[in-house]
């Protein structure tokens, strides 16, 4: 039974992965949220004893394989994000939802900046547009919904 429940976590992460790699219209590319990061951060905050930096690392490796980036880029970024999220999880967990959104916004910016640094140091010739902040904003807004949805799922399947 216990095994089944952690299985749910992996299913949500898998759905997140599918959403992440889903084709997205090029003209609205800047608005694409980081689905996988949001879902991962939720589980990190809710069940830090089940989902840890190790999980984030593995998820990062899978994302690397999917996006075709060098192996380790996303693993690195996800580990850092996981650390930042778990570092003060008890504090974050007790904040109001809008305050959590602000924190998610910061994490998302962190994600984009780290990714940008990696890409620049590997490919050299990339320019960043400030529009990527928009996707972080979307992340922040989406967090409320993801949070409530995943909490429903967690309570329904009684995962702890």
């Amino acid at each position: 039974m216990d095994r089944n429940r952690t299985f749910i976590i992996w299913i949500t992460l898998f759905i997140g992965l599918c959403l992440q790699i889903m084709p997205w219209t090029a003209s609205f590319y800047m608005l694409k949220p980081h689905w996988l990061m949001l879902i991962l951060v939720y589980w990190l905050l809710a069940l830090p004893h089940r989902v840890s930096i190790g999980t984030a690392f593995i998820v990062g490796i899978i994302v690397d394989l999917f996006t075709g980036t060098l192996l380790g880029v996303h693993a690195f970024i996800f580990s850092v994000i996981a650390y930042l999220a778990v570092f003060k999880f008890q504090l974050v967990r007790n904040l109001a939802l809008w305050q959590q959104s602000v924190i998610i916004f910061c994490l998302s910016v962190c994600y984009d900046v780290l990714l940008f640094i990696f890409e620049v140091s590997i490919y050299h010739t990339i320019t960043m547009s400030p529009l990527i902040l928009l996707s972080s904003l979307v992340d922040g807004l989406l967090w409320t919904w993801i949070y409530l949805l995943l909490r429903q799922i967690r309570r329904h399947f009684d995962i702890n």
């Binding site: 599918c18 790699i21 930096i53 060098l70 380790g72 690195f76 990714l115």
Partner: protein, 280 residues
């Protein structure tokens, strides 16, 4: 894994181990060649997921096909038959021209041009990363796909194969920052290199002669000098010719002819040499 990331070890230690592992993997992937086989197996391992993630689109397509009425299909069919007929008549003429061309080439003593072997492939995944312009195709090593293989669509060169797995492969587009392709102007055979500049921008032309005869609207085709892309496929159309004010070198950009934003069905080309290797 369980030991390294167990609850007992403090967070900072976990983070440290994860980061070191990630950096080691990065280093291996960049500079250690045998690691490519590991990556090949990992890519093969996850390739079923591509089909799963692609399934919503496939079912949507199927539903769309099913919702077409009989009349619509009949109209579509007559249109396609008409098109096929006109293409066939073009081909008749082309066959004659090819014979003539081969005879002329024989007279000149230059090597004959051979037909390439082609295979249709479907795009499983596109636009995943805002900085990397790659697509995943549903043909892999088992179909004889090799790294560096040219990929074209109905309008021109799309890119080349970059990584292969057992049943899928990853192609890099001509507009990627890492990609460059040798081209020549169709009108006067001036050779140059078209460098990718991100898919939202246009290709820039590099390695130009000082006094270049090129104007807006010129068609650029592959020159075949790289030994990868066969000669004569259209790549781009010159869209602007400007002069750098500082040192009066021309700055030329070109729009790719292939519709790189909407890729669905593509063709993989096998040149003469590779065809024998794969026995296909």
């Amino acid at each position: 894994m369980k030991l390294l990331f167990s609850k007992q070890s403090p967070l900072s230690v976990q983070l440290f181990i994860a980061l070191v592992l990630a950096l080691v993997l990065l280093g291996l992937d960049i500079s250690y060649q045998p690691f490519k086989t590991v990556r090949y197996y990992l890519d093969t391992l996850i390739s079923p997921l591509y089909y799963i993630s692609n399934s919503p689109r496939v079912t949507a397509d199927k539903l769309y096909e099913m919702s077409k009425s009989r009349d619509e299909l009949a109209i579509e069919k007559s249109k396609l038959t008409e098109e096929l007929l006109s293409k066939k008549s073009d081909l008749l003429l082309l066959e004659h021209l090819r014979h003539e061309n081969n005879r002329l080439r024989e007279l000149l003593g230059s090597p004959l041009r051979h037909d390439e072997h082609k295979m249709a492939a479907q795009v499983l995944l596109a636009d995943t990363d805002p900085y990397v312009y790659q697509i995943v195709l549903n043909k892999g090593k088992s179909d004889g796909v090799y790294v560096g293989q040219p990929v074209v669509d109905g309008k021109g060169i799309v890119g080349q194969i970059y990584e292969i797995a057992q049943t899928t492969s990853r192609a890099i587009l001509v507009c990627d920052y890492q990609h460059a392709i040798p081209v020549q102007v169709l009108r006067n055979d001036i050779a140059m290199v078209a460098v990718g500049n991100g898919c939202s921008n246009e290709l820039t032309l590099d390695f130009l002669p000082n006094n270049v005869d090129i104007k807006v609207g010129d068609i650029l085709v592959t020159s075949g000098l790289d030994g990868r892309f066969p000669e004569g496929y259209p790549v781009a159309i010159v869209s602007s010719v400007k002069l750098d004010i500082n040192d009066s070198t021309p700055v030329i950009s070109a729009t790719p002819t292939a519709d790189l934003k909407r890729l669905r069905y593509l063709l993989l080309l096998w040149g003469e040499g590779e065809k024998k290797d794969n026995g296909s």
